[in-house]
Amino acid sequence: MITLGWVYMLAGAAFAAFALLGLKDESNPKRFRNTAFWGLLALSMWAGDALGDFGNGLLVLALVAIAGLGGLGRGTKSEIAPEVRAAHAARLGNGLFLIALIIPATALLGTLVFKHLPALFDVKQVTLISLALGVLIALGVGYVVLRAAPMLPLEQGRRLMDQVGWAAILPQMLASLGAVFAMAGVGEAVGGIIQLGIPEGSLLGAVIAYGLGMALFTMVMGNAFAAFPVMIAAIGMPLLIQRYEGDPTIICAIGMLAGFCGTLMTPMAANFNLVPAALLELKDEYGVIRRQIGTALPLLAVNIALIYWLAFP
């Protein structure tokens, strides 16, 4: 039976390849750190279940130490000249988008079909298994149609991975933080305080507090990913999901998007809001944010209303 274990083998192989190929990028002054980082991640994917809880904890500490003290680097090796890419693009046309479409199409189709094949697939994990399958099919089609050199996808993938850097494990770290929050009873503690501010028994009040809280925490931290575990522990879990028995899928999916509305309104999200202002040589550093507020505020209201209407039938 095909399980998530197979996908971890594949992901481990990808990270191991990124680690080894990175060693050869002499344009990256920190290449050994990159290799250690991606190598540890490969180890986690391959052998995480054998390392034990404390072993995995040490592995995380090592990852954080590499990334947090000194950081990772990136090189310029393997960048492909724009003229070469443009010539390919002119020849291949929109077929490139079709190859890209293979991944989401396979993930969607596999999710719907593999569910009915419990003998072959772990039905609880069909989406991620289908995603991995989609990647393999897209690579296969890419090799055949584009006649790519054998190592080209991995080397280019390695280059992109180094551009992402340590941020690659940020979502996984924040998801794990939730476990510690849950164990320590953070949700109950914050819930107790917040419930003082919400009229007792008011579902609407709780939904508004959740939506506004996501946006505000995101504005303060500049990152909806970081705000999410906090707001789930504080309001999402104790009030919306447990007390009022709302649909967790809708509460979480749209709650995250309420956070994105906050991202549009904060200079703390510099990558999205300040960097483009500099890139476009705007005189007003906050010019981009000013144009976004008029979209973000009504959309935040829409998100709060959607949660209220859809998650609590």
Binding site: G48, G57, I103, L108, L160, P171, M173, A182, A184, T263
Partner: protein, 228 residues
């Protein structure tokens, strides 16, 4: 109540721009100690959670495919499509770009467009040219405003398109986090519930672009420049 210190550490650490991974680790230690756990138990608990949520990080297996396609000109092709957008007015041009950005992000192609890739070299100049055709001439302040609109439109399109792709970091973060509370969600379901907001984002931002168009059509003298 002391466990709340962990949240304070997260908020302060992100605000003060420390490396987020260090901030998370500091919050884990603070929360655990406040809850009366010893350091070994804290490290073990976090290690277990990290191992249980490994699937959150498997999204990166798509990078070799993206790298392959980009080596064969995916970004250049995207620029070609954007350059061919038929939008006689600045509002319609940007609305077309918004739709394109949402659609490609929903396919997982978040990096084929962006501020450096498409907004600066293509969208902003095209938008300014469209506004000039519309209004005859545009003031320096209006030029500034249209550039800002171009960047804002890119952000809106990206944020409210990408969550429709089920293997994006935010979706798997949700799955992984809720797993830690014993609730098992399907990535596919989560991505489906991103669609209503994506439509609302298009309608709201599109409406504002339509109003921008009306202001531009009124001409530079009538409006006296941007007022917002």
């Amino acid at each position: 109540m002391w466990v709340l210190l962990g949240i304070a550490v997260i908020v302060a650490g992100f605000m003060l721009r420390f490396n987020p991974l260090l901030v998370i680790m500091a919050s884990v230690l603070t929360t655990g100690l406040a809850a009366g756990l010893d350091p070994v138990a804290i490290v073990s608990a976090f290690g277990k959670a990290f191992n249980d949520t490994r699937y959150v990080s498997i999204v990166w297996i798509v990078l070799p495919v993206i790298g392959l396609l980009e080596a064969f000109g995916l970004q250049e092709r995207a620029k070609g499509v954007i350059g061919g957008l038929k939008g006689a007015t600045v509002g319609r041009l940007l609305a077309g770009y918004l739709l394109l950005r949402q659609a490609t992000a929903a396919m997982g192609l978040t990096s084929v467009a962006g501020h450096a890739q498409t907004v600066r070299p293509l969208v902003a100049p095209m938008a300014q040219a469209a506004a000039e055709t519309q209004a005859g001439e545009i003031s320096e302040a209006e030029r500034e405003e249209i550039k800002a609109w171009s960047a804002a439109t890119d952000n809106v399109g990206l944020f409210f398109g990408e969550d429709i792709f089920l293997a994006i970091g935010s979706i798997l973060l949700i799955v992984g986090l809720l797993d830690q509370y014993g609730i098992h969600l399907q990535p596919f379901q989560l991505s489906v519930w991103a669609i209503p907001t994506a439509i609302a984002a298009f309608l709201i931002h599109g409406f504002r672009l339509w109003r921008l168009d009306r202001r531009m059509r009124a001409g530079p003298t009538a409006s006296g420049g941007p007022t917002e």
